[in-house]
């Protein structure tokens, strides 16, 4: 019998709310981000899912109207472990500031994440978006009046939903590989996504740590076939 193992190419995009209200939890979130990628890799390997290539990208989001050109900061994909230090520096460099009113432009961040340059290499894949935020989202297009608002962004929630649900309309997230993991309160925007979109897991807290058993529930949901 020949030894035969299917390998996985794993891409993750971390969307981190970097507004002032996150000040008290941002260090906690940054540590979670650094731990999460290691734990997902360890969990997949524990289940004999061999990862042949792992890449991570970081998006820090705020509020287009309040924060101008600092409203949306995005890195390229870092190939791990080769570019691990660059990834750590990128996450470490995120500062909590601005944000204006309570809701933030989390849906625009999600739009950027969905339209990332996801890997098409490899036999099996995981395309994982993780969001951390302590606030509800603005309606899509709320910040349109700002000069920095991106052209080509989904015009409303329905279009963003199509980006997520339809591989052809979205950014090429593989239908079977995609997962969306949200750490955010049960608040407008996030709760609509978790009730309407497929392949979503919503942890309804960002400020409290998960119990060990809950954390494993999240890892299993992300790593296992569904």
């Amino acid at each position: 019998m020949e030894s035969y193992k299917l390998t996985y190419n794993v891409d993750m995009v971390f969307c981190i709310d970097a507004t002032g209200s996150m000040r008290h939890v941002l260090d906690f979130v940054k540590q979670n981000a650094l731990n999460l990628y290691r734990d997902i890799v360890a969990e997949m390997e524990k289940k004999h899912k061999v990862i042949s290539k792992l890449r991570v990208k970081v998006i820090a989001f705020r509020d287009y109207i309040a924060d101008g050109e600092d409203a949306m900061l995005s890195s390229d994909f870092f190939v791990l472990p080769d570019q691990a230090q660059m990834f750590y520096d990128c996450v470490g460099g995120i500062n909590a500031k601005g944000g204006g009113d309570i809701p933030e432009d989390g849906l625009e961040a999600l739009g950027y994440a969905i339209r990332s340059d996801w890997t098409r290499e490899g036999i099996k894949k995981r395309h994982i978006i993780v969001v951390w935020s302590d606030a509800p989202t603005h309606e899509l297009g709320h910040g349109k009046i700002a000069p920095w608002y991106p052209e080509g962004m989904a015009k409303d929630f329905e279009e963003l939903s199509l980006w997520w649900e339809d591989e052809q309309l979205g950014g090429g997230m593989n239908e079977n590989a995609k997962r969306l993991l949200i750490f955010a309160p049960d608040a407008p925007g996030w709760n609509r996504i978790s009730s309407e979109w497929g392949q979503v897991i919503h942890v309804q807290t960002v400020s409290e740590g998960l119990e060990d058993v809950e954390y494993h529930q999240v890892l299993d949901a992300v790593c296992n076939t569904i």
């Binding site: 289940k47 079977n176 979109w197 497929g198 309804q204 807290t205 790593c223 076939t225």
Partner: protein
């Protein structure tokens, strides 16, 4: 709750013609597959279930920290076993088949819901929600047979991607159609990790499919969870695993042990394979019977594909030829002995 894996686990005696099971748990003691088998009397039962580890990842503190997937597969095989015990004879036509499938569906819904309610699964206000979280999700595939004077009929009932097969002299034949969102065939779905379009659970509607066939005798009837067939690069290699482990064995016990060793080496997920040979005088006769098939399979498919092991397009070409005999998922609704609902 009955722990079937203990009852029928390692060390069980394989009686001639009686069903047996090969299992592998990716994380020992935490396997989310389950099974129930029954032999003798007027027919046999093979039943496997694969708790959906992603959808059912929630752990229940009051239930020994077991996951919903772990609990679901065990409950579902138990319920299916109880349902099968009450079947006096297999449904003869689609209408009575539909009634039986609906009865099993409602038994599953009622019993799982009652269990979920009793254990606080419905009313808890979890902090983790979303479409990737379901209550007690699992696949199911069972084969229930009925012996007649000169032949034997079989009903497959299933939801999800656990499969029912028959191994005959013309090769391995798949009778159950996977419930996969990708809609790919048995070759391409090995490479796509597709999500399920249908599985048993408490909080989503589900459908139990049914297919009745007349079995070929002699043959080996099989039910398998995806961990058993997904760990190989082509469907042809799955048949090769069955036949090569058989030819390397001196008796049924060794065949089982060989399959266990192979799955242990290859599987990256929980794997369960329920088998029932029938129509052979003894193991030696079964080996002799399948030897020409093994030679044909090896010469026509296995060696050519292995020689070009990185060439998936070539493997797919070979699969297309192999599929002609392998794929019996279509059924023929207008024939008395072969129908599906």
């Amino acid at each position: 709750m009955i722990d079937h894996s203990k009852k029928y686990g390692e060390g069980c005696v394989i009686l001639r013609y009686h069903p047996f099971v090969v299992t592998y748990a990716a994380l020992p003691g935490m396997g989310e597959d389950s099974f129930i088998i029954r032999g003798g009397g007027r027919g046999d039962l093979l039943c496997v279930a694969d708790g959906c580890g992603g959808l059912g990842s929630r752990r229940y503190q009051e239930l020994d920290q077991k996951t919903g997937a772990y609990l679901a597969s065990r409950l579902i095989t138990r319920i299916a076993g109880e349902w099968a015990e009450q079947i006096v004879c297999l449904p003869k036509e689609p209408d009575s088949g539909r009634a039986e499938a609906e009865l099993l569906t409602s038994r599953l819904q009622e019993t799982l819901t009652k269990y979920a309610r009793r254990n606080g699964m419905l009313h808890n206000n979890p902090r983790i929600v979303g479409s990737m979280q379901r209550i007690l999700p699992s696949t199911l595939c069972l084969a229930l047979t009925e012996r007649q004077e000169e032949n034997e009929s079989c009903c497959f009932l299933w939801a999800g991607d656990s499969r029912g097969y028959q191994l005959t002299l013309s090769g391995l034949h798949q009778y159950t159609q996977d419930d996969l969102r990708c809609g790919m065939d048995a070759f391409d779905c090995l490479y796509c990790d597709s999500s399920l379009s249908n599985c048993v659970s408490v909080d989503q509607p589900f459908e139990i499919h049914m297919r009745r066939i007349l079995l070929t005798l002699p043959s080996v009837l099989l039910c398998a969870t995806d961990g058993a067939y997904n760990c190989l690069p082509t469907p042809m290699e799955f048949e090769m695993l069955l036949l090569s482990t058989m030819q390397a064995a001196s008796d049924a016990e060794t065949w089982k042990s060989n399959m266990e060793k192979a799955l242990h080496k290859l599987a990256s997920d929980d794997a369960t394979l329920a088998c029932r040979p029938r129509g052979f005088a003894d193991f030696a006769e079964m080996k002799r019977y399948y030897l020409p098939r093994l030679q044909e399979l090896r010469g026509s498919y296995i060696l050519p594909v292995r020689r070009k092991r990185q060439d998936r397009d070539f493997a797919r070409e070979c699969w297309r030829q192999y599929r002609t005999d392998y794929d019996c998922t279509g059924g023929t609704c207008d024939e008395q002995d072969d129908w599906r609902i």
